[in-house]
Symmetry: none
Subunit: 218 residues, 4 copies
DNA sequence: TATGAATGAGAGTTCATTCAT
DNA sequence: GATGAATGAACTCTCATTCAT
């Protein structure tokens, strides 16, 4: 998994910038991209709207950078979790777990809203679209690498790892939507089980739905 | 699959209303839900903004009804296509085809944008959320019914039809996103093949990716 | 008390007109002159706004005629009450009573609101100002006539009847405002007593505040 | 008579606010409360309507504060005039004079329009009603205090000072209406004489209508 | 760096008024 | 006489953006 230079750039010299970006992400998650106002972000930081403009010149620029920042955070998080897990099937389960199950620390319920908004904005804003595409490519590559490792280690049956990555990431996206929208037909646990059953079948590894699904990090 | 009366409802009594709803859908697809202005819709119909208010009282109501209208159109379309197909596997393939492959008549590229926007709005607007949930339940029920029919006819292996519906609809949603966003890694054809391969494996029916995928209705 | 020709004109051939005028008065009393919309009046009558326009051509005209209509009603009412009372002091008391004390039949609380609105509109609208002036002149003349009759009959001391009319009508107007606005310092009974004490002193007739003030017509 | 701190409050810290409030009062007096538009006020000050919103957040708040401001001005004015007069009867006359006779400096003709509008708005807006009631209570208390002082000094006959305050303030209100509406039957001079005659009779002090009524401050 | 003051460009909504039927 | 459809002209309020300090 190649760490983007973007990630480095964000962990940057200027703490004010980062502070504003973090605030922007919170507001976007709460009110939605389209309803996010500069004044909201400024208020959250406790500064004047003019200062936000001073740092980011324009609202569009602020939001674009905020999204890129979110990406970086997500990856930093994911990488840390994955590095500690020895087996490929374990890592795969972790990926699915992170995607499907709520985490008390950083509520992914908010994250999901953010991703959906991301797709929505990407439809019309080329700048956002580029970020989104890069993000998804990265995500699929992560899955592909885990699959590849597992096949090399004999944990998974041989099959096109790219194909698995496309299918699994699409499935997870689809399930995330239902979770984010609190569809009564798709609870977090059910989504997790569905995705794991799908993956275990596809890759031919054993997996049993746990009695009581453990939340990750708990 | 129960044929909805939705199709009939669409051929409504008031042509002006329908005209405005159609225009609203076009504008939403082009500019996005959040960026859709009453004036845009009015201009497209060639009337004054006040007339749009006259018919729908408020912008929110207009947009809500527009979405409902889109749903009706989608189902009227789908129902018509499916009724003509005798085998369950054929109907299942048609469902996947409709979802993944562009149709020259009613550009689903527009539809996809609309659905993504729908999810996005549903995050925060309860009224939209209700429409979305109903729509998705209907869609899963459609899949479930086809699976059930196929199992009864011996075309498909026995397994929880609900589970298949949840998984397949999620997979299709996820693939749709990539298509809508024109992700270079997921062409329409690839999405179609991925979904069909998934379905055939799950339900144990034979399916071969065609040399040259035929567009439906072409 | 001379009956105006306006009164005759209002008890007119066209019942629709009268119906609309009555509705207009109700709406003005409830929502205020400035907030009265044609649509409100139309709705109350159960017809379309266009019909109201058909009858009155313009909103201003409707409201002006409505006010004139209110005047007519008020006088018809007042005249009827006064004719039955033999003594001048009795008639004077009736005038004060009508002005100050609520009547269950036609809530004067509404009437008062109407008069205050009338003054307010008269400030800026010449047409309304003319109606208002005529109305007040009539009202003062009514008082003057009662005073004159009482002096001729020896009930009242001789003094400038015009002057009394000006002073008493002003006092009643002022008290009405407090009543209309539900000022806790000026109850209806207190206003009544204040006005009567003033009149009896001025005109030198005996008057005792009743233990329990009787409502008129009760 | 307790000197209010209102006068001080008027010389506020923010000159822009005061400037806008003054402009608002002018516009209200000219066009009426209901017809006062933010744009009018802004134009009078020579700024953009958005700036008015910036200072007062909403139109209702602007108008409410404007009325409160008018009150302050009125009292600051009245207090200043009254403090210089030694006798109670002189002060009473001054009160009546201020109410009835035009002043070239601050045209009370405008003030009257404002008060009438105030009553009108108070009918339906609780916020305005509260301001109005407070204002009237203050006004009656002012009268009551003068009456009390005069009785203590032996200038006036003993009688219920509250009662006098209610009656006299009502009379003045009523006369003001006629003056504000330029009723030909009630000139400013006549109103003044009527009110003074009423007061002198009630309180038993000597008062002679002047040949040529002097305008105050002239 | 940080802000308060100021603005322009809309956006939705309201409503009297018109007109063909 | 009666209406539904249609419009134009406002009006309030929002918000990104600018600029002097």
């Amino acid at each position: 998994m190649s760490s983007t230079t973007a990630g480095a750039a964000t962990v940057e010299l200027d703490p004010r910038r980062t502070q504003i970006l973090r605030a922007a992400l919170e507001v976007i998650a709460e009110r939605g991209y389209g309803e996010t106002r500069i004044a909201d972000v400024a208020e959250r930081v406790g500064v004047s709207p003019a200062l936000v403009m001073y740092y980011f010149k324009t609202k569009d620029r602020l939001l674009a950078e905020a999204i890129r920042h979110a990406e970086d955070l997500w990856y930093a998080d994911g990488t840390r979790v994955m590095e500690a897990i020895p087996t490929a099937s374990g890592r795969l389960e972790a990926l699915v777990r992170i995607t499907c199950l709520s985490d008390e620390e950083v509520g992914p319920s908010d994250s999901w809203a953010l991703w959906i908004d991301l797709w929505c904005q990407a439809l019309r804003r080329p700048a956002v679209a580029a970020v989104r595409e890069e993000f998804d490519a990265h995500w699929r590559e992560t899955i592909r690498a885990v699959v590849h490792d597992g096949q090399a280690a004999g944990e998974f049956e041989p099959m096109d790892a790219d194909e698995v990555a496309v299918a699994l990431s699409a499935l997870l996206d689809g399930l995330s939507i239902q979770i984010a929208l609190h569809d009564p037909a798709v609870t977090e646990e059910r989504a997790f089980a569905t995705a794991m059953r799908f993956a275990s079948r596809l890759l031919g590894f054993a997996w049993e739905p746990p009695e009581q699904v453990r939340r990750h990090r708990a």
